[in-house]
């Protein structure tokens, strides 16, 4: 009897705990899935993304934005807003040197983003509005 009681306490209670966690977790809203390759529409931010595409590596709200191998920016996705800022390698935009690249965009469902992109420290590449659509998700890439 004592063994059964011990078993129920040590095993039964944690099982109920797991079920409780699964119930609680139903309410949690995770960040949108935005990992993959993005195509910039309409030529916005061409001085930063000359090839028109960039890729996002995602671990939840922690992101890395890679622009044609010229910049690899640590980024964050909070409340549906992507914020990225970091130094570019030489040559991303003529005359801008290693001025930091900044991206700030609202991400909707995870398939489209709209915001501004540019190199605020460089007169030749100011922040410009841009929009982009996700063309390849990480699972299928």
């Amino acid at each position: 009897m004592k063994s059964v009681l011990l078993y129920l306490i040590l095993v039964g209670v944690p099982v109920l705990g797991v079920l409780g966690v699964l119930r609680l977790g139903e309410q949690i809203v995770p960040p949108a899935a935005i990992g993959g390759r993005w195509q910039v529409e309409g030529g916005g931010g061409a001085c930063v993304v000359p090839g028109g595409t960039f890729s996002v590596a995602q671990s939840g709200e922690f992101l890395h934005v890679s622009i044609s191998g010229r910049a690899d920016l640590p980024a964050r996705l909070r409340n549906g807003v992507l914020s990225a800022e970091g130094g570019a390698r030489d040559g991303i935009s003529p005359g801008c040197g290693q001025s930091p690249v900044r991206i700030r965009a609202r991400v909707g469902s995870g398939e489209r983003m709209e915001g501004s992109i540019g190199m605020p420290g460089c007169a030749g590449c100011p922040l410009q509005p841009f929009s982009a659509v996700r063309v390849v998700s990480p699972v299928s890439s």
Binding site: S3, L6, Y7, L10, V11, P14, V15, G17, V18, V21, L22, L24, G25, E26, I28, V29, P30, P31, A32, A33, I34, G35, A57, Q58, S59, G60, E61, F62, H64, P74, G110, S137, P138, V139
Partner: protein, 701 residues
């Protein structure tokens, strides 16, 4: 670069680095597999890719990694098949409620904590493409896993397999493995169903039918395969071919069902007949290639996908700290608490907790599946890989602190200690043929009902597989065991002979440990040529002399005739006295006559040289005093006068000192025509100092 050439270079680099790092880790007393896991990380973006990106890109270009990954997956299929094959259902039976409760708690406690951690990490390190239920179940399963193979190897190397702790730990680990894989199958099915690949009901219905088919149809068929094996007496290529085809078919089926090919490999291995020889032969055929060739490729493939750089900044390192805390608290804490509540001592319970906390390779396998199906993100993958490395790395040192080797207690043997046994002899057997001769000496020391003999066989670590390690039942010892001749010689004598065999890294010290635990009166060893020395008293024998706190004797058999005349050379030293004691005991049981040969140097009076004046000897001992400058030559000459056995204490006087590389000192052992028993009496350090002091005082006087 040409595809096949690049692949060959990649494999070569991986194997070299894996062996080198594995060897380095062995030097710091870590399992080789930990080093190989680290080697994988070294070759990936975390180190090689960061320190030498050009070299990394040349050897491991991104577009070539698919081939390496596929090859490593094939290796994993073989590995999981072996894990299933070596899973012994007997481990799960008869371990009592302690094992049942402890094993279940060791799963559910980390599972619960992993689930709670998932509540916190899901909105931070996951995204909307991952279902919360899948994420949570995966985190729970990943936290629950235990590295059964690494654990079995650690238990084997520390001689804990036959203890209650070892038995309960193995049972728990086996239950954990099966449960974790089953849970993971459910997680993979849920995730893939969520992606719309295969409807969940098809996966579950198909899996149920598949598992039932494996047990009801395939398992009986495999008994026919076992009969084929038995009829041929060895594992033929036909039988091996059938097994490999079965492995591939089973893996393909589970992959098609949506629960991953590895489950099929594992299940096929686990339903094969549990015939000891069959399992051993299959394991021997496949294990080396899998462990030496394929597993390093898997570690490299995992390392190439692990970017520790993703864990950057205090926030992410804080998450890693949480992962570590939950992993250790759940597995170590849960297992320890459950083991303590079910009757193990705190020390044993903590040791079990440390062992169960070993994640090792199995964690990497599960994490790789998680990354492949997208249920965990790259940063969380890197954290979990680090956690697997740290928890595996910490096992050996923590165990050494909690359960040091010197506290090793072989409970299975101690539980039935017989206090009435007056003489206990430990016989380490290296050469099987020496067993009967050593038993002959032991039997001559005391009547059978007052004698207990422990036959000891030590195995080097690399010559034993996990499967063998997990099954230590003496009753099922294979006929080829080095202890078999000794046991055969003991049969029908009424002698209490027990056997112990385990893996050792330090034979001399382990023999000494066993002698201490068994309260042995005598460690009796046979002569065999040491590897690095021609000296009879060198190598392991010298180590045993150095470490053993009981008397030690080395037997050299020269003649097989019964002992009727025993010669004991004597100069009064402590080891000479031990030799005389042993000779007296042998004489009492065999009726032999003992002649005591006292050799006196020409410059010394009789009775000098350490022999106490007026010393008395047992009744019936024939005393013979000889004056000579070469005591060894005199002894050899006297031994030729028809003596069957010479019992001699180690002493420089007889040219018998237990020093390495000292063949010139062992002239007596080489030239004596009779069998010899060389005796060393244990003298406690304080007593030895008193003895030396006494001698120097005599000399100065």
């Amino acid at each position: 670069m040409h595809g096949i050439l690049l692949l060959l270079i990649q494999i070569g680099v991986v194997l070299v680095v894996a062996r080198a790092v594995g060897y380095a880790f062995r030097l710091i007393k870590q399992p080789q597999v930990v080093g190989e896991m680290v080697a994988g990380i070294i070759l990936g973006p975390s180190l090689l890719g960061w320190a030498a990106p050009g070299v990394s890109a040349a050897i491991f270009p991104a577009e070539s990694l698919g081939v390496l990954a596929t090859l490593s997956q094939v290796g994993l299929l073989l590995f999981m098949f072996l894990i299933g094959l070596e899973l012994d259902p007997r481990l799960l039976r008869g371990r009592g409620k302690a094992a049942v409760v402890t094993s279940h708690v060791s799963i559910i406690a980390p599972f619960l904590l992993g689930s709670i951690l998932a509540l916190y990490l899901y909105p931070r390190l996951s995204d909307a493409s991952v279902d919360f239920v899948g994420f949570t179940l995966f985190m729970g399963a990943a936290m629950s896993v235990t590295a059964f193979p690494v654990l079995a190897r650690i238990l084997t190397e520390r001689n804990l397999l036959r203890t209650k702790l070892g038995a309960v730990t193995l049972a728990c680990a086996a239950v954990d493995d099966v449960t974790a894989w089953s849970l993971l199958a459910v997680v993979v099915a849920i995730v893939r169903a969520g992606e719309g690949q295969i409807p969940l009901w098809i996966t579950f219905a198909g899996t149920t039918a598949y598992v039932a088919g494996m047990f009801v149809v395939v398992r009986p068929l495999m008994k026919h395969v076992l009969r084929m094996y038995e009829s041929r007496g060895h594992l033929s290529q036909d039988v091996l071919g059938i097994l490999l085809l079965g492995l591939l078919a089973s893996s393909a089926m589970t992959e098609w069902l949506g629960i991953h090919a590895l489950f099929g490999a594992f299940l096929f291995g686990s339903i094969l007949p549990r015939d000891r020889e069959f399992v051993r032969d299959v394991t021997e055929k496949l294990e080396d290639l899998t462990v030496v060739f394929f597993l390093p490729l898997f570690f490299a493939s995992t390392g190439l996908r692990t970017s520790i750089g993703l864990v950057s900044g205090p926030e992410l390192w804080g998450f890693f700290g949480l992962v570590m805390l939950v992993a250790v608290a759940g597995k170590f804490g849960g297992s320890t608490l459950a083991a303590r509540l079910t009757g193990l001592s705190w020390r044993e319970a903590s040791a079990l907790g440390v062992l169960m906390n070993t994640r090792g390779l199995m964690e990497l396998v599960i994490l790789t599946i998680g990354l492949d199906i997208g249920v965990i993100s790259p940063a969380l993958f890197a954290m979990m890989v680090l956690m697997a490395l740290v928890t595996t790395f910490m096992t050996t040192p923590l165990l050494e602190i909690i359960y040091p080797a010197r506290m090793l207690v072989d409970e299975s043997d101690e539980s039935d200690e017989d206090e009435d046994a007056q003489t206990t002899v430990v016989i380490p057997v290296s050469l099987p043929s020496s067993g009967p001769a050593l038993l002959r000496v032991a039997r001559a020391l005391a009547p059978a009902d007052h004698l207990r003999v422990y036959g000891l066989h030590l195995v080097r670590p690399e010559s034993r597989s996990v499967g063998e390690a997990a099954d230590d039942a003496p009753a099922e010892r294979p006929p080829a065991s080095p202890l078999a001749p000794l046991l055969a010689a003991a049969m029908g004598t009424g002698l209490d002979v027990r056997t112990l065999d385990f893996v050792t890294r330090d034979a001399g010290r382990d023999i000494a440990d066993v002698a201490r635990q068994k309260r042995a009166d005598l460690v009796l060893m046979g002569w065999h040529k040491p590897v690095v020395s021609q000296s009879i008293l060198g190598g392991t024998v010298a180590d045993v002399f150095r470490h053993t706190r009981s008397d030690v004797a080395v037997y050299l058999e020269r003649t097989f005739r019964p002992w009727t005349r025993i010669l004991v050379p004597y100069r009064g030293g402590v080891h000479d006295r031990a030799a005389l004691d042993l000779a007296g005991r042998i004489a009492r049981t065999t009726g032999a006559e003992v002649t005591l040969l006292h050799v006196v140097a020409p410059t010394q009076p009789a009775g000098g040289d350490g022999a106490a004046p007026g010393e008395t000897f047992p009744d019936g001992v024939v005393l013979r005093v000889v004056t000579a400058s070469d005591p060894v030559q005199v002894l050899v000459d006297v031994a030729r006068e028809g003596f069957d056995l010479v019992v001699v204490g180690v002493s420089d006087a007889w040219g018998l000192e237990p020093t390495l590389f000292a063949p010139r000192h062992e002239r007596l052992a080489r030239e004596c025509p009779a069998s010899m028993l060389i005796v060393r009496r244990y003298v406690a350090p304080a007593a030895a100092r008193r003895l030396r002091l006494g001698r120097s005082e005599v000399a100065s006087a």
